[in-house]
């Protein structure tokens, strides 16, 4: 574990973000609109209240975290290619995976900020009634869900080293997780084969844990307990991080062998 490289990756991503902080807005717009659409759809043009509002706001927060993770991970290596910094990075003695982990950690932080912005605006606009029984537990589950989303983002970052189409392809990946994670629509509404995919995704369990900690009468996906959610989310996230490491080792060797580091 190269902590120095992770720390440098985190710092560099933070500096780039702070130099152009408006990037947070595009990743907020789409999730926030989804939340609003769900709220207005369920209102039927009359009252805007009830548990569906709280569910929409919680779901919107998760979508905000996913959008942040997805767009930052897809643009991560693409920007290096555009800026001409990918070749020096790959030529250094540090494994790129550690740099990407550092960057993902920054995205995790911004993703959490995204979620809180969605909660805050929804509270201001609709008085969503964000009453959380155990704020600390809620925060921890939110952090865990964000880490699970970042682990998916890390794998995407690793794979996108192979392509210059990362930015374009990332737009495909936005909605599938909206559907499969159960953030807005419970996965019990999905066809059986899709539910099978959902349960293999770490964020699905993270989303369920968030709902457990925030909604009083939540029964859990497939009737599982809160502890199972935590275990599954952490276990699947670790598997994804290990998989990213293996993929990155292969990708690094391939890029060096083929000499395609800065082909753009």
């Amino acid at each position: 574990m190269n902590l120095r490289a992770i720390s440098a990756g985190f710092k560099q991503q933070a500096i780039q973000f702070l130099a152009d902080p408006q990037w947070i807005i595009p990743s907020l717009i789409s999730p926030f609109l989804m939340t609003m659409v769900m709220i207005f759809l369920s209102s039927g043009g009359t009252t805007i209240e009830g548990p569906v509002v709280l569910q929409a706001v919680l779901g919107g927060g998760v979508l905000g975290m996913w959008a942040s993770s997805l767009f930052s991970s897809s643009s991560s290596v693409s920007f290096d290619r555009i800026n001409g910094t990918f070749e020096p990075m790959i030529g250094s003695g540090t494994r790129i995976i550690y740099v990407l982990i550092g960057r993902s950690l920054w995205s995790t932080f911004i993703g959490l900020l995204n979620a809180f912005i969605v909660f805050f605006i929804a509270e201001l606009m609709f008085g969503a009634g964000m009453h959380v029984e155990n704020p600390m537990l809620f925060f921890l589950t939110l952090l865990m869900a964000m880490l699970s989303l970042s682990s998916v983002g890390l794998l995407i970052s690793s794979l996108f080293v192979l392509t210059r189409k990362g930015g374009t392809i990332s737009s495909i990946l936005e909605y599938p997780l909206y559907v499969l994670s159960g953030a807005l629509i419970p996965i019990s509404w999905l066809p059986g084969w899709m539910q099978s995919i959902s349960v293999t995704l770490a964020p699905t369990w993270g989303v369920d844990a968030i709902k457990y900690s925030a909604l009083t009468d939540h029964t859990g996906i497939l009737g599982v307990s809160f502890a199972t959610d935590i275990f599954m989310c952490l276990a699947l996230s670790i598997i994804l991080i290990l998989l990213s490491y293996v993929v990155m080792l292969y990708v690094e060797r391939k890029v060096l062998r083929d000499g395609t580091a800065t082909r753009y």
Binding site: I25, L33, K165
Partner: protein, 264 residues
């Protein structure tokens, strides 16, 4: 006049060549196919889950067919200035004798074409996957509405793109206007559900009238029956195009004076 047309044609040609050089046409088509499929399915599920009797899944699907033009044409044309800044080609264009407005007008052809492709893909899904009944639809009217929608939204996109010349990145505006239709243009629920202050913005968007006209055409209405929304939509598109001409002059001058043509 012929010189202006030449500039527009060569700009359009260059734009197609560069966009397709980065992302192969088949890959781009695949991205449109998958993105539209997942987004339509998401709102289809959401409408079913919320269970509002006024908003059937069919209602939402037709709305999202039209919305796909906004995410392609409006987003793409709004984002032209950002693309030029990122690839470092805005300054060479500005230093050429051609007017920036004519160059961007030519480049909007790409967004318009992608809008057509996107609608065709979405309509195919609507029929084959989501079971929307086009038995009594006026297909000729749907085609006319689609053409006029793409052109009107390109006019609006250019007005937004004009502001982007001055901004560090136009992606915020492009994201905002590309997706705001999901909420305020009657795509997923009637605009009467919105607060009255928000409905004012709905009436300023060409997409609102495009959605209304398309719903009428799917119901079998003739072009004369939908003349009202079509006239307003085309008038708005033309108005935005005129505004964009002034926008380009205004922001181009400011950028030149401040030496910020290529800052991002």
């Amino acid at each position: 006049m012929s010189n202006i047309i030449n500039i527009m044609v060569s700009s359009a040609k260059n734009d197609f060549l560069s966009k397709f050089a980065i992302v192969h046409p088949l890959t781009r088509l695949l991205v449109i196919m998958l993105t539209n499929l997942f987004s339509m399915y998401f709102f289809f599920l959401l409408a079913g889950y919320v269970g509002n009797p006024d908003v059937t899944p069919e209602y939402v699907i037709i709305g999202n067919v039209v919305q796909s033009v906004a995410t392609s044409t409006l987003y793409s044309t709004s984002n032209i200035s950002r693309t030029e800044k990122h690839t470092g080609t805005l300054e060479p264009i500005l230093s050429s004798p051609a007017k920036l407005f004519h160059v961007f007008l030519g480049k909007s052809a790409f967004g318009i074409t992608m809008g057509f492709v996107s609608v065709i893909v979405s309509l195919t899904y609507a029929v084959l996957l989501f079971g929307v009944d086009f038995g009594s639809a006026n297909l000729g009217a749907i085609a006319v509405v689609t053409v006029l929608t793409c052109l009107s939204l390109a006019g609006m996109g250019l007005a937004i793109g004009g502001i982007g010349i001055y901004l560090r990145t136009a992606s915020i505006l492009a994201s905002f206007f590309g997706y705001i239709g999901l909420l305020i243009c009657g795509v997923n629920f009637p605009i009467t559900y919105l607060p009255s202050w928000l409905q004012i913005f709905s009436y300023g968007m060409p997409l609102t009238y495009a959605v209304e006209a398309t719903r009428m055409a799917v119901g079998g209405a003739t072009l004369s029956m939908m003349a009202n929304p079509l006239m307003i939509m085309v008038s708005l598109g033309a108005l935005y195009l005129v505004i964009s001409w002034f926008m380009f002059r205004f922001f181009e001058n400011i950028s030149r004076k401040n030496g910020k043509t290529d800052s991002f």
